[in-house]
């Protein structure tokens, strides 16, 4: 069954969608979208490095994403103008990565594949990495769920309950780096944040509690992967962007549904 590339692609898409859903909710609640951009754009630099050092793309991207995420996390507590700072870091990292790639003339690098994903080329090994990463992120978030939520509501409330908000922030940061590293193959570095934010934002009008929002986001994300790949297959459109387009369509539908429901209640 796994010999069919379309089935492998679908499983890869669902794996990323499931891991991205709970994390994406926190990205939305804590307004960390730019933070996600900075981390994912830096991954291009990691990809260049992994070719230069002959290590796996996953390892290189994960390492640079982790460094970027931790750096941004440390800076965020220092009272800088965060949107400017993150904008500088996200795009510098992306540009630096693209320049670094050009220094590797002996490597034939499919840049488009890393910017927009190459989900149809997912191998069985990639599937193991993606589902392994997804399992790690989901279990880490499930284990820390209450503490993460409390720290998201209010730092002092968390501290009064014996929760260290900085540790919870670090956990989110590590999860973000892992999701970025496993999602590169599926949607590419430019569209990772879309997979984090769009299903969560679509789930918001349909949810009454944080847990239901994460579950609905996971369902919508998985649905986007399945329908997006179908659309890509039928209409010969690029796979990663097709998935994001379906997610965007679901977001608009959810918004309208939420409005209609609110006006009837």
């Amino acid at each position: 069954m796994l010999d069919d590339f379309l089935i492998r692609a679908t499983l890869a898409g669902i794996g990323v969608a499931l891991a991205a859903a709970p994390l994406g909710c926190f990205v939305v609640w804590r307004r960390m979208a730019y933070f996600g951009d900075a981390t994912s754009h830096a991954a291009i630099l990691g990809i260049a490095l992994s070719f230069a050092l002959s290590i796996s793309v996953f390892t290189g991207a994960l390492a640079i994403a982790l460094i970027m995420a931790v750096t941004v996390s440390i800076l965020s507590g220092r009272g800088y103008a965060m949107d400017t700072l993150l904008g500088v870091m996200a795009h510098s990292a992306l540009a630096l990565g693209l320049v670094a790639v050009s220094f590797l003339p002996h490597v034939r690098l499919d840049l488009m594949g890393y910017l927009f994903g190459d989900i149809l080329a997912v191998s069985k090994n990639d599937l193991i990495v993606i589902w392994g990463g997804a399992a790690l992120v989901i279990s880490l978030m499930a284990y820390r769920w209450s503490a993460l939520l409390t720290a998201t509501l209010n730092d002092d409330l968390a501290r009064a309950s014996g929760i260290d908000p900085r540790r919870e922030q670090l956990i989110l940061t590590v999860c973000l780096a892992v999701v970025v590293a496993v999602a590169i193959k599926v949607v590419g570095v430019l569209l990772i944040v879309a997979m984090l934010i769009i299903p969560s934002a679509a789930a918001r009008p349909l949810a009454r509690n944080p847990e239901s929002m994460a579950l609905i986001a996971a369902a919508l994300g998985a649905l986007s992967a399945i329908l997006g790949l179908r659309m890509s297959y039928v209409h010969d459109t690029p796979a990663g962007p097709s998935i994001v387009c379906v997610a965007a369509g679901l977001f608009v539908s959810a918004l309208i549904l939420g409005r209609v429901r609110a006006s009837f209640s």
Binding site: G79, S146, D155, S161
Partner: protein
């Protein structure tokens, strides 16, 4: 016997000294109100007591396993985060439904159980926060400006509720007030803070005097009282305006120490 005590405590926040040489203690069932101007370190003192900031010098001694119920000053719940009052009360510790219902009923908010937190009014929000603190079964209840955003009858109602809770729970109550002169009448002690302890004393119960009733209105049923600042030390503050008569006590408090 004290629940919590600081000795000669100095706290530094982001480079500047927010509190210096603060001696503070609170005994079981005592009600203590802290007043002081903006930036005087009131919230910092509470944060040091709950362990959110570490003192640079001096000590904090807590009674073993002291249960603290904490009501933060302002808690903004983002519109993007859906959460009902019931779920909110279960963070981070899961509570059983009966306890939740009882706590909400006690603060007069039983009808808010399934309401979204972001849809609550200021007063409703304060009551849910108070219910959350009650679920801790606190020995010390700490409230940071609980009456912010409430009108005077609303403040008075909240103060009466807090005083009743002290009697029911047998808990000590420590609260910060943004008003310099008007405090909860049940306060046993009032501490005026401005980077250090400026003065402390008992509030004057004035509800019976007609001129104060005119000031406080009739709807407060004696929940509010007046605190007269009586400083035992002087400051080298430059006079702001030579034409104002420099008197002592209450008025100098507004521009001098406090």
């Amino acid at each position: 016997m004290t629940l919590i005590q600081t000795k000669d405590m100095t706290v530094r926040l982001g480079g500047h000294v927010a509190l210096r040489n603060v001696d503070f203690s609170i005994a079981p069932k005592e009600i203590v109100t802290i007043v002081g101007p903006n930036g005087s370190g009131k919230s910092t003192l509470l944060k040091a007591l709950i362990g959110a900031v570490k003192p640079e010098a001096g000590s904090i001694t807590r009674q073993n396993d002291l249960r603290i119920g904490y009501v933060p000053q302002k808690l903004h719940i983002d519109q993007t985060l859906p959460i009902t009052a019931k779920r909110f009360l279960c963070l981070p510790t899961r509570r059983n439904d009966n306890d939740i219902a009882a706590a909400l009923a006690r603060v007069g908010a039983h009808d808010l159980l399934d309401k979204q937190m972001s849809a609550l009014s200021g007063g409703q929000f304060q009551r849910v926060l108070l219910a959350r603190a009650l679920l801790e079964k606190p020995e010390l209840l700490i409230l940071d400006e609980p009456t912010t955003g409430l009108d005077q009858p609303g403040s008075a109602a909240l103060y009466r509720l807090i005083a009743d809770l002290r009697d029911e729970l047998g808990a000590a109550i420590l609260m910060v007030s943004h008003e310099l002169h008007v405090v909860m009448s049940a306060s046993d002690r009032v501490i005026c803070l401005n980077g250090h302890v400026c003065c402390h004393g008992t509030p004057d119960i004035v509800a019976s005097a007609p001129e104060y009733r005119a000031l406080f209105g009739t709807g407060t049923q004696g929940a509010l009282a007046l605190y007269r600042h009586d400083h035992d030390h002087s400051h080298d503050h430059a006079p702001k305006d030579d034409t104002t008569d420099k008197n002592t006590d209450e008025t100098s408090c507004d521009e001098g120490c406090c």
